[in-house]
């Protein structure tokens, strides 16, 4: 447990410290430092036996998510160092805001790690709400009308969602309390999993609906997705990266925990159809939305919705193959999408615009960046040899073998989204490079601020995962897949 405690405590301390540290350079360095410590602590987990206490739980499901979160947290903090340096130079942000930004960044990491490792429904709920509040503040960091608009929308929608999720949590307790008696036990995952068979299914169903809608809002499932694109587009790019890469996963993780309960309890209605419906809705809607996007960050935000839809669909299908695909897809998507946002962040900074039609020829003007972005989009589009291909392969084949009629909309959705991705990425990466917005200097003359290491680190991981998965990971996936029913 101590390791978990460290993992969760480090960012908390980090937040406190960074709130006091002046100077954005030192701040960003410390930011990286704390994230690194968190990552190291989370790597220690791999050594330890799965364990659960009153407060924390570490099992096959969240261990890799914790590590993933810590890792993306670190790479993002590295990316953010270069990013904010540019923003400072461009006078978009000032020191005071940056102190706040760094503190909030660590606080955000804290809430997410807490939500992942919490063994208690209530604690998890509080953590997710905390994640909402911190990100709201960061989305509105630029104080532009658009960013405030976005933050406000995000806040209201997710606020309501959170409220519904809380109601669902209360219902869950209400259902468990007669069986397990009053007290903490009825709100603890490990305990619940033990007694869930005796819990009356009726309230479970009710609770799950509220939890699905509530946390589903944060997952960004259609039609609850409205906050997601604008929050991604208007906030600082590092935040877009962690939102897409981590927060969505955490919310989905919460939903899945409850799905496990329902799966374990025999009589409850199968949550599959609900998730399949919402997943397909998200996939198809997002796929269509991609075509009309002109803002590059909003574009990739919609692609996140699309992939969350695919993942939800996978878990809705259930079964060893589909669940395996879903778990793999979660990891691959968070790595790839955050990598894409790094690249997009650099691209936006060198070209000085977020308008897709004003960015072009990146492979010519900035080869490293351009090909990195291309590779990222290729990966997210489900082309080999990247990891997403494997998960989509498993998902499509297994679905078609079991439910041919469900596989068709799935494939159609993927293809529709694919078309849009290709359309835009060719525009971004090929053709003649344009000129910098405003100054009018040739884009090639502007160097990339900061390092591209995070981008390529993620791509390398996704590439490896595409052709080879380490044994332990496979083992975890398979155990969890079995639990998810």
């Amino acid at each position: 447990m101590s390791a978990v405690a460290v993992i969760v405590a480090t960012p908390l301390i980090g937040a406190a410290v960074l709130a006091l540290v002046p100077g954005h350079r030192l701040g960003s360095r410390l930011n990286i430092g704390f994230s690194a410590v968190t990552l190291l602590a989370s790597l220690v987990l791999f050594g330890l036996e799965p364990s659960s206490g009153a407060l924390f739980v570490v099992d096959a499901f969240n261990i890799y998510l914790i590590a993933l979160t810590a890792f993306v947290g670190l790479t993002t903090s590295v990316f953010s160092a270069g990013y904010i340096a540019h923003e400072i130079a461009a006078r978009k942000l000032d020191e005071r805001k940056l102190r706040f930004y760094h503190a909030m960044y660590q606080a955000f990491m804290f809430t997410m790690l807490l939500a992942l490792s919490a063994n208690n429904l209530g604690v998890m709920w509080v953590a997710v709400e905390g994640a909402t509040l911190t990100t709201v503040l960061m989305v509105s960091l630029y104080r532009t009308a658009a960013s405030i608009e976005a933050a406000w929308k995000y806040f209201i929608l997710c606020g309501v969602g959170i409220a519904l999720a809380l109601f669902g949590t209360i219902l869950m307790y209400m259902a468990a309390q007669p069986v397990m008696g009053p007290g903490m036990a009825a709100m603890t995952w490990t305990e619940l999993m033990g007694h869930v068979t005796k819990i009356s299914p009726a309230i479970l169903n009710l609770a799950f609906v509220f939890l699905l809608i509530g946390y589903g809002t944060k997952v960004g499932l259609a039609p609850l997705h409205a906050w997601l694109p604008d929050a991604h587009a208007e906030g600082p790019t590092p935040i877009s990266a962690v939102l897409s890469g981590l927060l969505l996963n955490v919310a989905l993780y919460a939903v899945l925990r409850f799905k496990m309960l329902l799966a374990a309890n025999g009589e409850a209605i199968a949550p599959g159809p609900l998730m399949i419906a919402m997943g397909l809705a998200s996939l198809l809607l997002a796929g269509l939305m991609l075509y009309r996007r002109r803002d590059v960050k909003r574009f990739f935000a919609y692609s996140s919705i699309e992939h969350m839809g695919i993942i939800t669909f996978a878990f809705g299908m259930g079964g060893p193959l589909a669940n395996f695909a879903g778990l793999l897809h979660m990891a691959m998507h968070s790595l790839t999408k955050s990598a894409i946002f790094y690249a997009v962040g650099h691209a936006v900074q060198v070209t000085g615009t977020q308008r897709i039609d004003r960015i072009s020829g990146l492979t010519v003007s900035h080869p490293a960046l351009g090909w990195g972005l291309l590779a990222g989009v290729v990966a997210i589009a489900g082309l080999p040899p990247f990891g997403v291909f494997m998960s989509e392969f498993l998902l499509v084949t297994s679905t078609f073998a079991r439910q041919p009629l469900l596989a068709l909309p799935l494939v159609v959705g993927i293809l529709v989204a694919f078309g849009a991705l290709v359309l835009r990425v060719q525009q971004l990466c090929f053709g003649a490079p344009g000129r910098v917005e405003g100054s009018g200097a040739p884009v090639a003359s502007v160097p990339v601020q900061g390092t591209l290491v995070p981008l390529y680190a993620h791509l390398a991981l996704v590439l490896v995962a595409g052709v080879w998965l380490p044994g332990p990971l496979v083992a975890w996936f398979q155990t969890v897949a079995a639990l998810l029913g």
């Binding site: 406000w152 929308k153 209201i156 929608l157 519904l164 009726a202 169903n205 009710l206 609906v209 509220f210 809608i213 809002t217 039609p223 609850l224 409205a226 694109p229 209605i269 609900l274 919402m278 809607l285 269509l288 939305m289 075509y291 009309r292 060893p320 492979t363 290729v378 489900g382 082309l383 080999p384 040899p385 291909f389 494997m390 392969f393 498993l394 499509v396 084949t397 297994s398 679905t399 078609f400 073998a401 041919p404 596989a407 494939v411 993927i414 293809l415 529709v416 694919f418 078309g419 290709v422 060719q426 525009q427 090929f430 053709g431 003649a432 595409g466 052709v467 080879w468 998965l469 496979v474």
Partner: protein, 673 residues
Amino acid sequence: MGLVVSAIAFLFAMAAAGIAAKRLPQASTVVYGGTAAACALIALWAAVRLAGGGPDASLVLPVGLPWIEAHLRADSLSAVFLIVVNLGGITASLFGWGYERAHHDSHGGPVLPLYPLFLAGMNMVLIAADAFTFLLSWEFMSLASWLLVLSTHRESETPRAARLYIVMASFGTACLLLAFGVLATAHGDYSFAAIRAHAPGAGAAALVVVLILLGAGSKAGLVPLHVWLPLAHPAAPSHVSALMSGVMTKVAVYAMIRVLFDLLGEPEWWWGGVTMGFGALTAVMGVLYALMQDDVKRLLAYSTVENIGAIVIALGLALVFKAAHTPVIAALALAAALLHVVNHSLFKSLLFFAAGAVLTATGSRDLNRLGGLIHRMPTTAVLALVGAAAISALPPLNGFVGEWLLFQAILNAPALPDWSLKIEIAVVGAALALATALAGACFVRLYGIAFLGRPRSRAAGEAVEVGRAMRLGMAVPAVLCVVLGVLPTPLIRLFEPALRLLVEAGPFDGRAYQPWFWLAPTSAIGNSYNGLIMLVVIALLSVVLVLGIHRKASDRVRWSIPWGCGFDGPDSAAVTQYTASSFGQPIRRAFGSTVFRARDHVDMPAPGDTRPARLSVTWTDPAWVAVVEPVSRGVAWLADRANRLQYMTIRRYLTLMFLALVVLLVMVAVSQR
């Protein structure tokens, strides 16, 4: 097997070298040299395996899907296609080396690293022995070729072509995904061995057949899924176009054969019927398209569509005869298919190389800006003539042998039990004959306009012959075209293991021994063909003729101006020549006016007006109208509708949320009743 894998690994290394040594002048030499070497190695290995026989080489690598790992296996079928792919790879590398040097100044994309990857991908497809590895390699191949097409991204037409290409390619992959979803066992064993072991039910098999025809067909360019092909293939650098058109389409054919003949088990009679129908449609449509093109490379791409049609017809016949339990005839048809696969890969590469040479020399792909190149580029002209003659199925070249075998198979229709099939085969035969004849016209047009007559542009008039490497790259396939035309039998004998694997028979079974230079397949019809003797006799006769004539006739020659209705002088005469579109006019009128709504618009100036008259041709592509436009329009329409969701008020979004909640609650309430 390890050798093949390491050769492929070496190709990846070449790609890495291409990235690393991009700036160095020797980079292209290293990469193309290394690639050619690796291809030669694989091709040799495959040839030896085919000749030597023995058990299939196979290998399991601890990568890919965790619970089945990556199965690699090279049986005789794979070997046949390995030869095709890598033969193309060798010549393309040779030509590409010279091509790169010629176009050194041009700002091409990163062709160097991608070129070996493309070949590696194709090789991997051929040795993959489980669905995951297969599709991974398949899509990797598409990815590499897509990026290769994009290497000319500064040309205005490329992006659209590339986009359409990769989208259609993924459509195909999606179809194959679904097909393998049906084939694979429920507990997720995707290895071909397991797939073979559990045969699908009738319904499932039917589904798979359709999906494979869609999936592999979209890659091979079956009408109406061919729309991307004539856009994408020409957009790439010429040696890559040659690979895409001459070789990659064959990989698609391999996929069809692998699934339809190998994985699916015993065929039903209608599979072949459907396949044949598609093939016939493709063959005729493809050549008609080609006849209306003025862009040399696009014309070649359309002719690829036609040849794929012919190959697919042969596959369909083989399926039909296999289902009818007449394996020897099935073997004959399949042999025709494989032979045509080899032939087409040869002469199509040759012709694309020639187009590349012309492009290098004149900087133009437009027929109406070429002409008279036979004087400026003698070697290219000769080699291109060989290619044109071969693809027009003229004896004694290789194109004719494949066609001859195919007709022999068609003539066996009476052996079939089913009436509808007999009649369909008669119609298919007519279609094939029509396609072949039209192909002849098509290549007379191409060669006559591009190489003969007088230059139609200054660039054509000042063209200079291309470098030695490029000429050599063209010479190799040209020579092979002649050799295979004269001596096809040894090659077919070489392929026999593959035929036995797929239809449990060889085309020569039960025939008394014949010498290796004699082509006389077993079949109800005791026909034979001998290109060698024919060649010898032709040579003999022409010698006799020439001697006889020059004994008697006068050798006096006078050079003068040709009769052009008074339009004399070298300059004006160039204008009075037939253009590509005027050459195509009769056939356009005969066929195009209904199918393509082709129309000629003649802009004739009034008498005394010095303005030149113009003939312009407009036509519409039915496949485009029927397939692409509806889809794109539909998606656009839906996208516009969906886009409204982006601009709603927060309250509306809350309402959506509320409604979602209520709906789910109602669902629960209902499900609990």
